[in-house]
Amino acid sequence: MLQTISLLMENKPGALLRVTGVLAARGYNIESLTVAKTMDPELSRMTIVVDVEDRLRTQVIKQMNKLINVLQASDMSETPAVIREMVLVRVRCSQETRTAVIKEAEIFHARVVDSSTEGFAIEATGEPGKLDEFVDVMRSYGETDVVRSGAISMSLEARKLRLQPPVSTPVAV
């Protein structure tokens, strides 16, 4: 089953690789991955969608939480959460269907971001499933190019973030 994992991590070189390494080492293929800085520029928020066997889901989260650079890894599939994605579609369409394409885009609350004689470039956001439908509809009008952002997620429950305070270490000399 697809699992959505949200991670808060230190924005450091190699941190992304450590997280994806936990999945790659176990042979899991990542469906989507997004990462960006948070309000605190020293931290990044990452959302990973990955197909993990149910019985191993907790183990994967635990292994991620063990990583020094990870402050918190949580399973979004188990808590109330909003999951959203963005898609850019370039659709070629004939003069006759241009109006219909715009109407369809409106139904999906999508926005035309570029228009040319060849067709349109349209952006849409929404739940990943909804975007699948949108892409299908656009393809019925003509040739398309599609770029998807991958899912981002936000928990709807306030999660307590427990951080380790500085530790003073004994000096030998």
């Binding site: 991590m9 230190e10 070189p13 190699g14 690789l17 450590r18 390494g21 080492a25 907790t58 183990q59 635990k62 292994q63 939480n65 063990k66 990583l67 020094i68 650079n69 990870v70 402050l71 918190q72 427990r162 951080l163 380790q164 305070p165 500085p166 530790v167 003073s168 270490t169 000096v171 030998a172 000399v173």
Partner: protein
Amino acid sequence: MHTEMDGKLMTGAEILLECLTREGVECFFGYPGGVTLPFYDALYDHHIRHILVRHEENAAFAAEGYARATGKVGVCCATSGPGATNLVTGLVDAMMDSIPLVAITGQVHSKLIGSDAFQEADTFGITRSCTKHNFMVKNVQELPQIIKEAFYIAASGRPGPVLVDIPKDVFQARSHYVPVESVHLPGYKVFTEGHAGQIRRAAQLIWEAEKPLVYAGGGIIAANASAELTELVETANLPAVCTLMALGSLSSGHPNFISMPGMHGSYAANMALTDCDLLIALGTRFDDRVTGSLNTFAKHARVIHVDIDPAEIGKNRIPDIPIVGDVKRVLQKLIKNLQELEAESKAVKAPARTTWHKQIKVWKAERPYDCPHSDTEIKPQHLMEEIDRLSGGQAIVCSDVGQHQMWAAQLIRFNEPRLWINSGGLGSMGFGMPSALGAQMARPDKLVFSISGDGGFQMSLSELATIASHALPIKIIVMNNGVLGMVRQWQTLFYNNRLSAITLDCFPDAEKLAAAYGFKGRTIDKPWELASALLEAVNEPGPYLLNVKVTPDENVYPMVPAGGAIYDMVFCPKEPVGV
């Protein structure tokens, strides 16, 4: 704390040495090269002892031997590229056995990184998955902080290896050295105390159990919790098995000690695991070599699992009482709880507990480990028995990997922790001799045996030079059966005796080999020579190489075929199998 070093303008190399000194490093193992030249130049004037090994892999193994013998962080050092890649096996080995290690590697000049420069390798990338954490130092100012964090991460929580990759220009750059006295790792959580309620519940379960069993793992040794383990076992009169990684954590001579469980564990240990109604798993990870098939492992038992690593809890077996914490702290509290409940609880299950202890005694008597002797040949078990006699549970025994490792684990007693040193999780051949080198460096007061097969011995043969040059009085015992014994055993038992690529002919003359390095050596093949030859080795003030030719076709028993139930043991047949 302030010393004359504070604020002084120093090179990165000098700062690194100062940081190592402050971490209490007295000696480390390494091999210099192009990019570590500035570091070795600074070392020229420094008091820290550097042991020049003959291959970087052995630097890592020696540092492990040092760490395993003392509990301190072992340190090794290698240059960029091949030096760093040669460390990898040792890093994985330390990772698998949770051994605190800091590896310092040189890297090419920052400006050359990514240009396929001479001796450049992506050490940071290569070692990411085989370390607990790794660092690349970008500038000299961050060096003291990174070294502090490296040692802290290596030694705290579940210990493990940490690698610090340092470009050549960082060694050369100058900076005002400011000592670091704290670490701030917001994402690094170490759980030590254990949940008080769960510990209370565990104490109740222990008194309620009719057939309780302690299953102690390497975590006991890592946590220096041997005294607590002993007290636990005595407080509630619990029988105990110690895994390969935990031998010595409960003295082999303790009446409650059963033996090692698992694939080559004893009949009594495996039967006790199978039949117990409460399994008290302490600092252990339900490794496949211990559990065999998980579905049949301790099937009727409720499980208390104490481990410092939350990811180990429920990984292989879902416990009834999970306790995340430092096993030393948890055991102290558990013992206290047991004592509080003793008056009201102890008598309730006392008769059942007596029966349980009797049953274990019966199993022990029924099938002890095989220890055959012969009038004409030296049996490998006989060799271990003689080493045991000389050691009396006191010597450090560093083992390689294979049949000899299993016989040594079965037949040599260890009265204390940190005497039995072996590559448990990874099973790295070649580990024995370099780890003995590290252990003897750490414990010059101890008698150290290095026991290898003729295969593993030849994998790290180069360290004879290091041992000779430091005149380390290691007793290097080669259990020589002329084959890769464990592979041969599996080919015999599971591959129709089709013996493929296992013959090790052309073994060097041990006497001449040792003499070539300037110390004594000898080959023996008669059982009546064994005791006197070992005694001669032990009495020799310097190193000694004893090549013991043993029966070539002996198998290790009992044996649980891989993936089988641990109560389904194969025992030594009356007639030899195969050959």
